[in-house]
Amino acid sequence: MDWEFLAHNFRILIRGTGNTLLLGAATLVLATLLALPLAAASNTQRRALRWPIAAYAWAARGIPELIILFFCFYGLGQLGLRLEPMPAAILAFTIFSTAYFLEIFRGGLRGVGRGQYDGAAALGLSYPRMMLRIILPQVLRIAAPAYLTMAISVLKLTSIASVVAVTEVTHTANKMIVATQRPFEILSMAFLIYVVMNSILIGLQMLIEKRLKLKT
């Protein structure tokens, strides 16, 4: 066990986690903020709103993430918008994550009983007040497990950003394989870094789920 080698290279790999977490966090924030209003919009009766959103959700979930990433990094360049790897990755990840969160929030929205809306109307609450104070908290509670599972998937997926030269963990590991010629050690450490990160998230998920159960 060449501990010196492992320790030295582990420190280099860890530097990649900064970008991994940046990509993951930025994506989660943006995608959640976008998916909530879209989910609310797709729950209305207006077909003109539902169709484009449904089409977007279908396309963004059906096209491989790597293709969406290539589109943001290479495709937009052809249209004149040349993005750096990280912004392109954030854009791409937001595009498909929003679609997944959109479906998750729609499911949460459907889980809120009709009585809630009637009750709010009986209390004379305005639409924004009702949405924010009554409906939204319940949607978040119902959608929490699926949401957190998706969040973990997003963090796992950040490794594909390495293909467009985002200097996150996988990309760093790839460069180090060439430098050190020790793929087993480097990749095992990289893999473990992801396992640990996601395990922390899973732990968080279980904690949140437990607290939510107690509240109801």
Partner: protein
């Protein structure tokens, strides 16, 4: 503007690569399912040590990225003297990674069939094979078909990573064409359409399957 000529000239090669993608997906699903069934069975009859090993494997596959696994096989195996074509490496990586998910799916299906069904069938003197084909599977399949198909959709999308380890599938070939033509949009658009078409085929198969195995209660 959008140059359709580029689309037309590259379409035959893209379609050939699509065949590769379909093969890759099917083989991965096959390996993953076989592995999942085997693990599900082992998990049921569990020796506790084995059950824990399977749980660890499952945890790793659900928290670790597929791309790292693929790189592991691609760079690592030649170092221990195992030289396999990239296609097989991709199937191996995808199959092992998805096996954990398939195990959960199949366990869900089998657990959904009430034990009483198997007991009653055997009490009636049914041949054990018939018990499986006539009683258990028809009730288990509607339960695990939707997650099975959605997992297959995920594998179809995951196959796009195989291009990174030089498999000549749709995304990898598309990427090469982008470098050759400098027209990413003309390449990415047909590629996206092809993936969406394959996806739709899967959804249609799922709908047909649900209709075929719908148990009348």
């Amino acid at each position: 503007m959008f140059d359709w000529q580029i689309v037309i000239t590259h379409l035959p090669d893209l379609l050939r690569a699509t065949v590769r993608t379909i093969q890759l997906t099917l083989w991965t699903v096959l390996l993953g399912t076989v592995l999942g069934v085997a693990l599900a069975i082992v998990r049921q009859s569990a020796a506790p040590m084995l059950g824990r090993a399977i749980a660890v494997y499952s945890w790793f596959m659900r928290t670790g990225p597929l791309l790292v696994i693929l790189y592991f096989l691609y760079y690592g195996l030649p170092r221990v003297g195992i030289y396999l074509p990239a296609f097989q490496l991709a199937v191996l990586g995808g199959g092992v990674a998805s096996g954990a998910y398939y195990m959960e799916i199949i366990r869900g299906g089998i657990l959904a069939v009430p034990k009483g069904q198997m007991d009653a069938a055997r009490a009636l003197g049914m041949h054990p094979l018939r018990v499986w084909t006539r009683v258990v599977l028809p009730q288990a399949i509607p339960v695990f078909l939707p997650p099975f198909v959605s997992n297959t959709q995920l594998i179809l999308k995951g196959s796009s990573l195989a291009g990174v380890i030089t498999v000549a599938e749709l995304t990898g070939v598309g990427n090469r064409f982008i470098s050759l033509t400098f027209r990413p949009l003309e390449i990415l658009f047909p590629v996206a359409v092809i993936y969406l078409t394959l996806n739709s085929v899967l959804v249609l198969l799922q709908m047909a399957g649900e209709r075929a195995w719908h148990t009348r209660r």
